[in-house]
């Protein structure tokens, strides 16, 4: 990977700052992409868990003791094992997946919190170890013993990792998760949670949206939701409000190129949940990031005041998905947060676009700069 990086990027001596920045961005994106790559293929299972939780727990729509038994094993075993499986698969296909899944059971059993972070570590680790074995030792086995060697190497490495996971890796990850949780709890206790938008919104438009949401926020959310039935963390990145506000402002006051595509983008963003569609609008007018931050922070504050939350990750971040995973009685708070975020982000974005005046002046300037007569072109 690094070799490819060096080959494609210009010599570091020429533009050290910029290339180091962009290389760091690429590295973070790739790391985050791998985290999200373990979670996102399994979102269907997360939603199944979220719906079952919302329906059958004592405070749900149809409380049912028998069916509520599904909730705990799904969050504690099914979901981490799926993540570990997918993590192993990313490294070394089906064999990596099997070892990753076995290793994940080691960290998941005996843990009182859902072991997502542990799964994200031991899953790929298991895949990597079996890959190492296959490329260094396994390929030397004669073809008549191949099946024996393949099955037992995977079994032994997986088994050892499960033991190591239970005795060593699990406790370490639990301690780390505890510290992370304490840090976040500090923000919550001091009502500082909206400040998180200062990081979340800029990271989003740099295409770190999946990394932030599935790599960080949903980890926190799942722990909380497993205990209390809902979590605000699921809403912090997935709130479609800030993006919608920016798109509305672009539709009314944006440059010509943005105005044309904004209505379609609004539908894809708000109902389809594909937030990527608004990132280019912000990247084209970087000061719009202030609108996203203001919208995101006021949305988080509103969620906080309403004690709003969802049971599972609304993915994709469509208003339909948000409503579907909101627990009984929580819809007003979620809708309020989305509405406030939309309004604030729209107002700030409109202000930043000078209510259209700035863009008209800019267009005129560009025409003059292009040398053409002002009125002829259109």
């Amino acid at each position: 990977m690094t070799r490819a990086d060096e080959a494609t990027s210009p010599t570091p001596a020429d533009q050290p700052a910029e290339s180091r920045m962009s290389r760091a961005k690429t590295a973070i994106q790739r790391f985050g992409g791998n985290l999200a790559g373990m979670v996102m293929p399994n979102i269907g299972a997360f939603i199944a868990w979220g719906l079952i939780t919302a329906l059958f727990i004592p405070t749900g729509w149809w409380p049912n003791e028998t069916l509520a038994q599904l909730v705990d094993p799904m969050i504690k075993f099914l979901l981490p094992v799926l993540i570990g499986y997918t993590g192993g698969k990313l490294v070394h296909d089906q064999r990596g997946a099997v070892v990753g899944a076995v290793a994940t059971v080691g960290v998941a059993v005996g843990s009182d919190v859902p072991m997502f972070l542990g799964a994200m570590i031991v899953g790929p680790l298991g895949g990597w170890l079996i890959k190492l074995f296959d490329t260094k030792i396994g390929h030397r086995a004669s073809s008549s013993f191949r099946m024996l060697v393949d099955n037992f190497s995977a079994g032994i490495i997986g088994g050892l990792l499960a033991v190591a996971g239970m005795l060593a890796i699990g406790p370490v990850v639990r301690t780390l998760t505890g510290w992370l949780g304490d840090g976040v709890q500090f923000l919550v206790d001091n009502a500082l949670l909206p400040l998180a938008s200062l990081i979340i919104e800029p990271a989003k438009v740099l295409f770190l949206n999946n990394a932030i949401n599935h790599g960080v926020l949903s980890q926190l959310g799942v722990s909380e939701s497993a205990q209390t039935g809902k979590s605000i963390y699921f809403l912090m990145e997935t709130n479609p409000g800030p993006g919608l506000g920016i798109l509305i402002a672009c539709l009314l006051f944006g440059p010509r190129m943005m105005r044309a595509s904004a209505p379609g983008a609004m539908i894809i963003h708000f109902f389809g949940g594909i937030h990527e569609i608004y990132f280019p609008y912000v990247l084209a007018r970087p000061r719009l990031i202030l609108a996203a931050i203001a919208g995101g922070a006021s949305g988080v504050l509103t969620f906080f005041l309403f004690e709003a939350g969802t049971t599972a990750t609304p993915a994709p971040g469509s208003i339909i998905a948000l409503m579907a995973v909101t627990p009984k009685g929580g819809h007003l708070g979620v809708l309020a947060g989305v509405a406030v975020a939309t309004l604030v982000s729209f107002l700030v974005a409109s202000l930043l676009l000078g209510f259209g005046r700035a863009e008209k002046a800019r267009e005129l300037q560009e025409q003059v700069a292009a040398g053409g007569p002002v009125d002829d072109k259109r």
């Binding site: 494609t8 992409g33 791998n34 894809i268 594909i274 280019p280 990247l283």
Partner: protein, 102 residues
């Protein structure tokens, strides 16, 4: 700038971060536009671009990653998800044959 003979394009890969959201949407739109020229359009996560891709399309912000994964593939970066001129350029090059700059 290098060029690619557009008549050799048989498979276009649209890549995004997860390969599940925006790339699926774009691949759907492009595949109907390119179907008459028997060009296949598929979507993929940017970390897992398949080997048989002739051209890779992805958002500017992900171009560096696409190139790191597949240094030898032509990567076309677009800015906007809707109505970006790059899509027209690709379609036109495939329709008329000729060279495609990337």
């Amino acid at each position: 700038m290098s060029t690619l003979d557009a008549s050799t394009i048989k498979k276009v890969i649209v890549a995004c971060d997860a390969g599940m959201g925006s790339s699926v949407m774009l691949a759907g739109q492009l595949s109907s536009a390119l179907a008459p020229y028997s060009v296949k359009v598929q979507h993929a996560p940017v970390n897992q671009i398949p080997d048989d891709a002739d051209v890779v399309l992805c958002q500017q912000g992900l171009v560096a990653r696409a190139k790191a994964v597949k240094p030898d593939k032509p990567v076309l970066g677009f800015t906007m998800f809707l109505g970006d001129p790059v899509f027209d350029k690709l379609q036109k090059a495939i329709r008329d044959g000729g060279d495609l700059e990337y």
